[in-house]
């Protein structure tokens, strides 16, 4: 169009935008998890923009990242527009599920990380029960995949990273415009050697152990 201000068209497989939200609590690797999705898009020549809110994340606050694949360089997504929501924590999944579209996919790492007890003591609300969380997430025909932290890792790795495990599960939903192997390649390129094996193991863990709680397990956006 011109020299300085350029506008990129979508990739060759341009069939409309895919909106992704990745949320959790500071320290859970939310930004890195979302980055791996965006890095995969860049690798594959898919247009991507990602928005991060991490002002006070280090101090135990909520971290929210959103991105648009194959759409405007916007990063932000509107109410009820996310095609897939990934969450490293169940309460944060529930807090963010207003972003998720009807019929969208939600993938949650089910290990709870309650807010500081000091907050809870002063708060009139309590941490919702597992049943409340699952019911809330599955409203509007949303398809829910859960990952339990107590599942045995087949690879025998002691620690499973929630963020990369969620990516492995997300690959099963069929919403992302790329698959398990593409994510695996990105992890190999982006992460340092010391972190590589355990994250690849977590990715496999996510693919193996994610359980779909919805009746319709078919992938793809509706």
């Amino acid at each position: 169009m011109n020299d300085a201000v350029t506008y990129q068209s979508g990739g060759p497989d341009d069939t409309g935008p895919i909106r992704v939200a990745f949320v959790g609590v500071g320290g859970h690797g939310v930004v890195m998890g979302a980055r791996l999705i965006a890095e995969t898009a860049v690798n594959m020549g898919i247009r991507v923009a990602m928005s991060e809110v991490h002002g006070m994340a280090q101090r135990g606050g909520v971290v929210e990242t959103t991105m648009i694949l194959r759409g405007a360089d916007c990063g932000m997504i509107g109410e009820g527009r996310a095609d897939i929501l990934l969450a490293t924590e169940p309460l944060e999944a529930l807090r963010a599920c207003h972003l998720a579209a009807p019929g969208s996919a939600i993938v949650v790492w089910m290990e709870t990380n309650p807010p500081a007890s000091d907050c809870l003591l002063r708060d009139t609300s309590t941490y919702p029960s597992r049943r409340e969380i699952i019911a809330g997430l599955m409203e509007k025909n949303r398809r829910l995949w859960v990952l339990e932290n107590n599942s045995e890792s087949d690879d025998g790795h002691a620690r499973v990273h929630a963020n990369t495990a969620l990516l492995g599960a997300a690959a099963k939903t069929g919403v992302l415009p790329f698959g398990f192997d593409d994510l695996s390649l990105t992890i190999s390129q982006v992460l340092s050697d010391g972190m590589l094996e355990s994250n690849l193991a977590s990715l496999r863990f996510g693919r193996q152990k994610a359980i779909c709680l919805s009746k319709d397990q078919k992938g793809g956006t509706q």
Partner: protein
């Protein structure tokens, strides 16, 4: 992860990183900054590579020093850049306003990162007005890709018009991640590296300033011609009478909305990246082709008012929509729903089911749901020395004492249970606010400031308090780093190539009546120091020094102490009083490492979080918390 110096192919970069990369591609010679969200990552991404790149790099004590440093380097022939958050430009304004009078040698770019929505700031001022006030050109990128290209271009522009250029980001651009196509880095440096003596143009006495101001106006007219150049705007035509003009992040949201509403090709769209001087010819041409124009921008109607003025001057009766017509607010950030709704309102777009965005009941549901969920408030980290300082100081000064506080991690002491904060406004403000309050009211007053903030803007207030014989206790909370923005060093940080400046030496030299330095983890000594300072007349300064717990653990500066143990009276009872489940430990400290499970027998220690600092040991009325030895 590859360094910004070694990008070979399309790379995903943060907006801030893209600015840094663009500066490197322009042959950046000097950089200075004071960290502040959302601009911090510009400096942080250059800090580690400046030596390799041969760039002068400095974490300045504050933003005006960063701009003054840029002035000196620019006039010496270096391409120079300073970066700061929006309120940082307030601090730098004295230098920034007169900078254009001096002109530039090497291109000079001042980056301001605004924070619509106050994600991490005390206000949401619109710094575009600074460009107009200082009469300098302004560039606003809308993505990392543009941030890189336009930063590079801004250096050239600065040299073309002999003026510093304001590069304005907002949080959503600074913290947007997107692909950037790197251009080669220059192999040779630009600039003569010599200060040419020219006092009749460089010493701003009134007689010089008057002449130089005329030159600024002349240069700005040249800039206005460049502002209309097609490289700085994009325009797409529509077949309806409606056009949209957007800047910054608004451009992305409009693109998204037009696509969602199926209006591509229906609505004309003018995207502007050169936003001061206003690209008047471009705007006028666009106005002539549209009977109605919607202006999409965040915060104040900066462009909207300019566009209305241009329409008036050109005798153009295009109706202008935006803030003044209630389509947008001056509050907060724009988001996809706000922009889509405004565009839909003006196009009467029938939203199909796939583009239906806000279901009224949905938004109600999400509101009620979000208020029904427990909040996750940011808090001081486990082991944070500020928690100990606040707890014991409140004990010494009493519940009625008014607390003037400042900007940094320790501002979080505002929240319960610590409740340490009654007044806060700006960097360094605690000292002068505290001293003035002490003169204004009969209630007791104490002031709290962080280490980096003390150096940044606290010192003049301290001298003022001493000089005017105020009575004030000032607690300087020294965790040896600028923790809130990502652990950048300050003059009092343990020396790492710089000469260390000690806060207590500065306080003594300012004439404080007493200066004490204590470790807040040493509760007895710290309590003594606080009590002594609180009871004394004049200005007393207590430096509470203990490294940031999180940084110390992260960088391996200290060995992690084992978590404390709560004796719950079980089989391994130590023969002391067991936990009475009173939850005093949680209620007094608010430490995130203490957890009370619903229906549990008492608080438990979260092993992964506890740093073993032992503060809870000192508050437990039963002596039931013990160090794990």
């Amino acid at each position: 992860m590859s360094s910004l110096l070694n990008l070979e192919r399309r790379t995903l970069l943060l907006g801030d990183e893209a600015v840094a990369r663009g500066a490197l591609e322009a042959g950046l010679g000097a950089f200075s900054t004071y960290p502040g969200t959302p601009a911090s990552e510009i400096g942080d991404s250059l800090a580690g590579i400046s030596e390799e790149a041969g760039i002068f790099f400095e974490y300045a004590v504050n933003e005006i020093i960063a701009v003054e440093t840029v002035i000196a380097f620019s006039l010496s022939g270096y391409r120079s850049m300073a970066a700061m958050k929006h309120v940082g430009l307030n601090v730098a304004a004295d230098a920034f306003m007169t900078f254009p009078y001096l002109g530039v040698g090497g291109g000079a770019v001042i980056v301001t990162a605004d924070d619509p929505g106050c994600h991490s700031s005390q206000n949401e001022q619109d710094n575009r007005h600074f460009a107009r006030m200082a009469q300098v050109p302004m560039i606003e990128p809308s993505s990392p890709r543009e941030a890189c290209l336009l930063t590079k271009r801004a250096f050239e522009l600065s040299e073309e018009v002999h003026l510093p250029v304001l590069l304005r980001l907002t949080t959503r651009i600074a913290h947007m991640r997107g692909p950037v196509d790197p251009a080669p880095l220059p192999t040779t440096r630009i600039g003569a590296r010599e200060f040419k003596r020219d006092p009749m143009n460089r010493v701003m006495v009134p007689s010089v300033a008057r002449l130089r101001h005329a030159e600024v106006i002349r240069m700005l007219e040249n800039a206005a011609l460049i502002a209309d150049s097609p490289e700085f705007h994009g325009v797409s035509e529509g077949d309806s009478d409606l056009g949209i003009i957007a800047v910054g992040h608004g451009r992305n949201l409009v693109e998204s909305a037009l696509s969602d509403l199926g209006l591509n090709g229906r609505v004309g769209f003018l995207e502007l990246a050169f936003t001061y001087p206003f690209p008047e010819r471009t705007i006028a041409d666009f106005l002539k082709r549209h009977r109605r124009v919607l202006v999409v921008e965040e915060l104040t109607p900066f462009m909207e008012d300019a566009i209305a003025a241009i329409a008036h001057r050109r005798g153009c009766d295009t109706r202008i929509f935006g803030k003044h017509t209630g389509h947008f607010s001056e509050l907060g950030e724009l988001n996809p729903d706000l922009v889509t709704n405004a565009v839909a309102d003006l196009t009467c777009a029938r939203k199909s089911t796939t583009t239906e965005i806000v279901y009224a009941d949905d938004s109600h549901e999400s509101q009620t749901r979000s208020t029904g969920l427990p909040q996750r408030r940011p808090s001081l980290c486990p082991g944070c020395p500020h928690r100990a300082t606040y707890l014991m100081t409140r004990q010494a000064i009493g519940a009625e004492t008014i607390v003037a506080t400042d900007i940094g991690c320790y501002t979080l002491g505002l929240f319960p249970p610590l409740g340490m904060g009654d007044l806060q406004v700006c960097m360094g403000g605690s000292v002068s606010l505290g001293a003035a309050l002490a003169a204004a009211i009969d209630q007791p007053v104490a002031a709290f400031i962080g280490d980096s903030t003390f150096f940044h803007a606290g010192i003049p207030g301290l001298i003022n308090a001493v000089s005017h014989r105020r009575r004030l206790m000032l607690v300087v909370m020294d965790n040896l780093t600028t923790a809130m923005t990502g652990y950048q060093p300050h003059p009092g940080s343990p020396a790492d190539g710089h000469r260390r400046v000690m806060i207590e030496d500065v306080a003594a030299a300012c004439g404080a009546d007493s200066v004490m330095t204590v470790d807040p983890n040493d509760v007895r000594s710290a309590m003594d120091a606080i009590s002594t300072a609180w009871d004394s007349n004049g200005v007393s300064v207590v430096v509470m020094r203990s490294p940031c717990a999180r940084q110390a653990l992260r960088d391996g500066l200290v060995e992690r102490r084992p978590p404390v143990r709560i004796d719950n009276g079980g089989p391994d009872n130590l023969g002391r009083n067991a936990c009475s489940q009173c939850t005093t430990c949680i209620e007094m400290t608010g430490c995130p490492a203490l957890h009370l499970e619903k229906g549990a027998r008492g608080p438990e220690v979260i092993q992964d979080l506890c740093t073993g600092c032992g503060l809870c040991i000192t508050v437990c009325p039963n002596g039931a918390i013990v160090p794990d030895e």
